[in-house]
């Protein structure tokens, strides 16, 4: 499966189910009741941020020319190919936090130990098995979707045309 996580801001209710499912996916047990007792606690890579009544889940955009990758002095952050997600190799991370400073979206976090960063991995293991990213699957209103950019733009074209046809534009 290839694609990007797309957010429909009008559909987000701010329930934070994406956060719970993300942390659960990055737990050892993958079982909610056990996962909440794991130490260190599994961390969510997506955060619902709310400003002025607008709630939006934010996570790594896996930029093509990713500033975090560029500033990383130890090559812990990598972007192997254009369709690949930005990946973190914890062993190489020196905890300098330059990536956190460089990220324009503020979606990279330091883990609780302060030794390495945590970032969205686009659920690569799930994608390999043709499963949607955990946050997308966990979203009850489908505010989060996993699509190819082609589908995103064709969807936008249709929406634009529909608006013209209805005389909304």
């Amino acid at each position: 499966m290839k694609g990007v996580i797309v957010i429909d801001v009008e559909k987000c209710l701010g329930c934070r189910s994406c956060q719970v499912q993300c942390a659960l996916e990055h737990s050892h047990s993958k079982n909610l009741v056990e996962a909440i007792r794991e130490r260190p606690a599994p961390r969510a890579r997506v955060r619902v941020e709310a400003v002025d009544g607008l709630a939006v889940p934010l996570q790594c955009r896996h930029c093509e020319d990713a500033p975090c990758v560029r500033v990383c002095p130890s090559h812990a952050l990598e972007k192997p190919g254009i369709d690949d997600p930005v990946s973190v190799t914890n062993e190489r991370c020196i905890g300098c936090s330059l990536c956190i400073l460089a990220c324009p979206f503020g979606v990279i976090d330091m883990d609780v130990t302060g030794k390495a960063i945590v970032n969205c991995d686009l659920c690569v293991e799930r994608l390999k098995n043709d499963r949607l990213p955990a946050c997308v699957e966990g979203c009850p209103t489908k505010a989060l979707q996993f699509k190819s950019l082609k589908d995103v733009s064709s969807g936008k074209r249709r929406k634009y045309l529909t608006a013209i046809a209805r005389g909304d534009r």
């Binding site: 329930c15 996962a35 909440i36 007792r37």
Partner: protein
């Protein structure tokens, strides 16, 4: 996940129509993944500042808006569930009491006092003199005395409990102040800004649960026996195959016995039978779902069509002409299913209506006429049945039901009164390990019946006598565990000997979910009979709800724990987001009541926890080692 282990249910789901139909399992799948906050009980929607959620992966010092932490939030949500369960059982009890009052006053509905001996026994217990009074006069006093319990203490049936338990209740102030009052108090305490101490909250919940078990549920059982007759062992059948292709099939569904008793009576009347024959049917077949069905099964031997998750499947057979429902566990989903068939769905309780569904309101004074109308409508619906859409699976199982505290051991001992001596002796001598109550619902999150069957199989193999009620009993009935022959196939050697001597199946059907109060009474009788310690918590007994679903089940679990019983409960109530609440329910509370919860999700491991508990209690009592080696338990695939 497999939907069901019930072969009849699977056949219906696999049929051409079944594959197209949307059932509870489809809707359940659409709900996945369940909201983690809700599932863990740490989402608070009580006040309008919320909803507040505690991030289960977040730091430990999180608080909601008002400052409530995960413990307070989980405990508040939990006891609100108990209050709802207590309310449901007890309101059912209130309706029975009001029907008894109606019958006592010579009402026109057709209700009458069926078991005068039980009436006198209950009257004596309530301190109501029966001498020189007619049964109706006594019944009026009994009904009023029961209705009193809703408003104020004492709850006289609590006096049945052993003295040490009563002392524990006194020490922890667990005596209810009245059934309704405890429900109200839980709602008050959990209101924004009242009780924030999770222990204090939970104990208040336990008090409400005790008001259910020893109050609302218990009086529902006792008064139903008086009105509709005390059950006695009776043969019947279970599963979807009890539907008849050539008869009018009337399905009673819900929980209360009053209307279904009348419907059953009406279905036997010549005038209506003639009407059915006139319309081309060979007869009128009354069967049921959930506990309404069990009330009819226990007292009159009417067959059980299935348990909670079978309700849509019954309609899917295309053979149900009319389904009449009262209250509780009636899924709104059945209205969509009924629309796809000729099935006429009727609601009858002013408390339970569905938009677009015909409603014939149950009134005590018009019950008989209403029952006539229902049967007549069923016959009319029969003429609209489309035989090409009928698909009745042939699965039917024999069963024996109808056991009560009063009748279970009457056959043994050669005395005129029933005695629990044979049971206690069997436990003391090591023939029986103990007694387990496996009860509770179906839950679409768990494969239908699998938990009940696996757990019961494991317990029987370990020489544990299993008593059952509600959907759990129906699950085991469908699988044939309620036949006396089942002892040969499933029971350990000691249990088999007892079953053969007493002439009982290894799994004892004690009735509907309010009849879990019979189990409480049975525990008291075991203590009273002697030799097994002075309190319920000393007995080698355990309880379990392996497929729990409803708030009623939560309340039952809590009154079991509140009465000193080790109780396996799965899926667990929504408290797992709070470590302290889980700790208190599974350990701390034992110091207060002698009982505790075990939240084991695997039914076989749950059974093993129950067995270990019984062994520990046997050891504490210094009982003989088990007489026979445990039967090798094989998991059935």
């Amino acid at each position: 996940m497999k939907q069901t282990v019930d072969r009849a249910a699977q056949k219906v789901l696999d049929s051409t129509i079944g594959r197209q139909a949307k059932t509870v399992w489809d809707r359940s799948e659409a709900m996945e993944p369940r909201c983690g906050f809700g599932d863990l009980g740490i989402c608070c929607t009580i006040c309008l500042q919320g909803p507040c959620r505690i991030d289960p992966f977040g730091p430990p010092d999180q608080k909601g808006c008002c400052g409530a932490d995960a413990d307070t939030i989980a405990a508040r949500n939990f006891i609100r569930a108990i209050a709802a369960g207590c309310a449901a059982h007890s309101d059912h009890g209130r309706d029975i009491a009001s029907t008894l009052l109606h019958a006592a006053k010579g009402g026109t509905g057709g209700f009458r006092i069926t078991d005068a001996a039980k009436l006198n026994a209950i009257a004596a217990e309530l301190g109501i003199p029966a001498e020189g009074r007619s049964p109706e006069q006594v019944a009026e006093k009994v009904a009023l005395a029961c209705l009193e319990q809703f408003a104020r203490s004492p709850l006289p049936f609590m006096q049945r409990a052993p003295e040490p338990l009563k002392k524990k209740w006194s020490q922890a102030t667990l005596w209810p102040k009245g059934i309704d009052r405890e429900v109200v108090e839980v709602l008050h305490r959990t209101h924004e800004g009242v009780d924030a101490d999770y222990r204090n909250l939970i104990l208040s919940g336990i008090r409400a649960a005790l008001a259910d078990g020893w109050g609302g549920s218990m009086l529902a059982t006792e008064l139903s026996d008086i009105l509709f007759g005390s059950p006695s062992p009776i043969r019947s059948k279970a599963n979807l195959g009890v539907l008849k292709a050539d008869e009018v099939n009337i399905v009673v569904h819900g929980h209360e016995p009053a209307l279904s008793d009348m419907v059953a009576r009406a279905s036997r009347e010549g005038e209506l039978l003639d009407y059915a024959r006139h319309k081309g049917a060979k007869g009128i077949n009354v069967c049921g779902l959930c506990c309404t069905s069990i009330e009819l099964l226990m007292r009159q031997g009417y067959p059980a069509l299935g348990n909670f998750l079978s309700q849509e499947l019954a309609i899917l057979t295309g053979a149900v002409d009319l389904m009449v429902v009262d209250v509780q566990c009636v899924m709104p989903g059945i209205q969509d299913m009924a629309k796809c068939f000729h099935t006429e769905l009727l609601t009858t309780s002013p408390k339970a209506k569905m938009p677009g569904v015909n409603h014939l309101e149950f009134e005590e004074s018009k019950a008989h006429a209403l029952a006539h109308e229902i049967v007549r409508r069923a016959v009319d619906a029969y003429t609209r049945r489309r035989p090409e859409r009928v698909n009745i699976p042939d699965e039917v199982m024999d069963l024996v039901a109808g056991f009560t505290v009063e009748n279970i051991f009457t056959n043994l001992g050669g005395t005129f009164r029933s005695t629990f001596r044979p049971l206690n002796d069997a436990i003391i001598s090591g023939r029986l390990r103990g007694v387990a109550a496996v009860i509770g619902c179906n839950n679409a999150k768990v494969t239908q019946d699998e938990g009940h069957l696996a757990m019961t199989r494991r317990l029987l193999a370990a020489d544990v006598l299993v008593v059952q009620t509600g959907c759990s009993a129906t699950a085991c009935a469908k699988e044939g565990f309620l036949r006396p022959e089942a002892a040969l196939e499933l029971a350990g050697e000691g249990l088999r000997e007892i079953c053969e001597t007493v002439g009982i199946p290894p799994v004892i059907h004690m009735g509907s979910c309010v009849d879990n109060s019979r189990v409480l009474r049975a525990l008291c009788e075991m203590v009273k009979e002697g030799g097994l310690g002075g309190d319920i918590s000393d007995l080698p007994v355990a309880a379990a709800a392996p497929e729990a679903m409803s708030e009623k089940a939560v309340s039952i679990g809590c009154y079991a724990v509140g009465s000193g019983v080790f109780t396996v409960f799965s899926p667990p109530p929504r408290v797992e987001g709070s470590r302290n609440v889980v700790e208190f329910l599974t350990r701390g509370i034992e110091d207060v009541t002698g009982g505790k919860f075990c939240f084991e999700r695997d039914p076989v491991k749950g059974a093993e926890a129950m067995i270990a508990h019984m062994d520990a209690k046997r050891k504490a009592l210094g009982l003989s080692p088990m007489m026979y080696k445990e039967k090798i338990y094989k998991e059935k695939k």
